[in-house]
């Protein structure tokens, strides 16, 4: 079972209560199998449930199911070493270096932009909170 080191920003460290800048998670995957960013976030969520809701959100879908899985929150960017995984979202495959423990996965709050699923400039983002 690969052990992946995830480097988290200050807000998420505080939410997780882990006390350090990085969290190590065991990702259940048979040897040689692909591991995705979603697998890592799932493992993080099992270990620190609040990180599950802080890093991903349900994909809203009208109908009986209510949602069709999860997506990375719009303003979170994910890196494997220096590789930007954000555009591939939770489906992104982790490189071997991360699974070998030689490179961490970094989850960062975006300064601007975000994943293709974001709505920069939309009404929801621009509305004054509480008003």
């Amino acid at each position: 079972m690969p052990r992946v080191t995830v480097v988290l920003p200050w807000h998420l460290v505080r939410l997780s209560g882990s006390g350090g800048k990085a969290v190590a998670v065991d990702v259940p995957a048979p040897p040689g199998e692909e591991v995705t960013l979603g697998d890592v976030v799932d493992a993080l969520a099992r270990q620190h449930p609040v990180l599950g809701t802080a890093l991903r959100e349900p994909i809203p879908t009208a109908g009986p199911a209510g949602s069709s899985g999860w997506r990375l929150r719009p303003y979170i960017r994910a890196f494997a070493g220096t590789h930007d995984l954000t555009a591939s979202g939770l489906e992104a495959r982790l490189p071997r270096e991360c699974l070998d423990g030689n490179e961490p996965v970094r989850l960062v709050g975006a300064i601007a932009g975000g994943s293709p699923g974001s709505e920069p400039g939309s009404r929801k983002e621009m509305a004054a909170p509480g008003e």
Partner: protein, 375 residues
């Protein structure tokens, strides 16, 4: 000797203002949960040291935080708000259907259970009501509300389609009112299992036939007095209203106010007919008329209104007071408190006759709650 604690949620953290019963000198602690929007900072109904905070950041979304030591330390809760399927659509701003999506928690309402313990209710955006029976650890939806037949006519106000006010009936534990912008007031008489819309008599300038529309009303805040729970007051986008029949019908009581628009409405702790509002110029401008900040008080249940301004800015004041940013204490004379989008917190220790600034230069104030503590 009693103490008063004012819980202030702001765009950049929470603040706690504390005074003795004289309410002359205040200490300010904060920011708590710094760096995050504290949309609502609320105290448990059972344990005065237990606080709940609805916290939001654009990056990491909505997290409910709980403190058991009056805000010194916090525990982040999982905060999983999942709608019960089927998930449907409301009327988006463009008029096109918009699928319900959880965005944030607007309000937290702890309610003491008759048999002991506490239920924590949460009003959220997109509009829905959730409850937690384990101090905020897990949440379940009262889905009958969101499945109300009128739901496709619900629409967002300027800040989204939100359930912002939860008002339990203190006499009838199974009765509960909620207010949704812009849908209206809904009442449940069976503990949330079913809901009726309570919007007869309200104006809604954007609805073609408001006399027959069940929903689409922009209620900004709802209030009742525990000593007279069949009487409700609401500040609406289109006026101020009173209901004497538990929300079945509404009568407009705007006459005497300088504007029909405003956000908060609160009731005096000991006088069920004394009501406070803070009029704003209009929906477009959202600042005090002529830049002169005034609280308006009615002592006859909305029959007449008087401006209260002693100690409030007389000119060049262009702040707003948001719907959750006004509250009263339980002392006699009653204290009244409100926060502004300019970061001021004002307080009156004589039922509104005179005002003092308790805190200035805070971040934009999103919510104000008050605890009256013994000893």
């Amino acid at each position: 000797m009693a103490r008063v604690r004012v819980l202030v949620g702001t765009r950049k953290g929470g603040f706690v203002l504390t005074s003795d019963a004289s309410r002359r000198a205040w200490t300010i602690e904060g920011p708590l949960l710094e760096g995050c929007e504290v949309f609502h900072l609320q105290a448990s109904s059972l344990d005065p040291d237990r606080l709940y905070a609805s916290v939001w950041t654009p990056w990491f979304g909505n997290v409910i935080q709980r403190s058991d030591d009056s805000g010194r330390t916090w525990t982040a809760l999982e905060s999983k708000f999942q709608y019960v399927p089927p998930v449907e659509s409301y009327k988006g701003l463009s008029g096109q259907p918009e699928t319900w999506q959880f965005r944030r928690t607007w309000t937290l309402k702890p309610v003491a259970n008759p048999g002991g313990g506490e239920t924590l209710l949460a009003g959220v955006e997109d509009a829905a009501l959730f409850q937690s029976l384990d101090d905020g650890a897990t949440w379940t939806e009262f889905s009958a509300l969101r499945h109300h037949p009128s739901h496709s006519d619900w629409e967002p106000g300027a800040a989204g389609c939100c359930l912002h006010t939860v008002v339990p009936d203190p006499e009838v534990p199974q009765r509960l009112y909620v207010a949704i912008s812009a849908a209206g007031v809904f009442r449940s008489d069976d503990g949330g299992a079913s809901w009726r819309s309570m919007n007869k008599g309200l104006r809604a300038d954007w609805i073609a036939d408001p006399a027959n529309a069940e929903a689409g009303y922009c209620v900004h805040r709802l209030a009742l007095h525990p000593a007279r729970p069949h009487v409700l007051f609401q500040q609406n986008h289109c006026g101020v209203y009173r209901s004497d029949d538990r929300g079945e019908t509404w009568q407009e009581i705007t006459e005497g106010l300088p504007s029909e628009f405003g956000f908060p409405i609160v009731i005096h702790a000991h006088e069920p007919d004394t009501v406070y509002v803070v009029p704003m110029t209009s929906a477009e401008r959202r600042y005090p008329p002529e830049g002169c900040l005034r609280v308006y008080r009615s002592r006859d249940g909305g029959g007449t209104w008087e401006p209260l301004g002693n100690g409030l800015p007389d000119r060049h004041c262009y702040v707003n007071v948001l719907r959750g940013a006004m509250a009263v204490d339980q002392l006699d004379p009653c204290g009244v408190y409100f926060g502004t989008t300019g970061g001021q917190v004002f307080g009156s220790r004589d039922s509104g006759d005179n005002w003092a600034i308790l805190a200035d230069n805070l971040p934009r104030v999103l919510s104000v709650e008050v605890q009256t503590l013994e000893g």
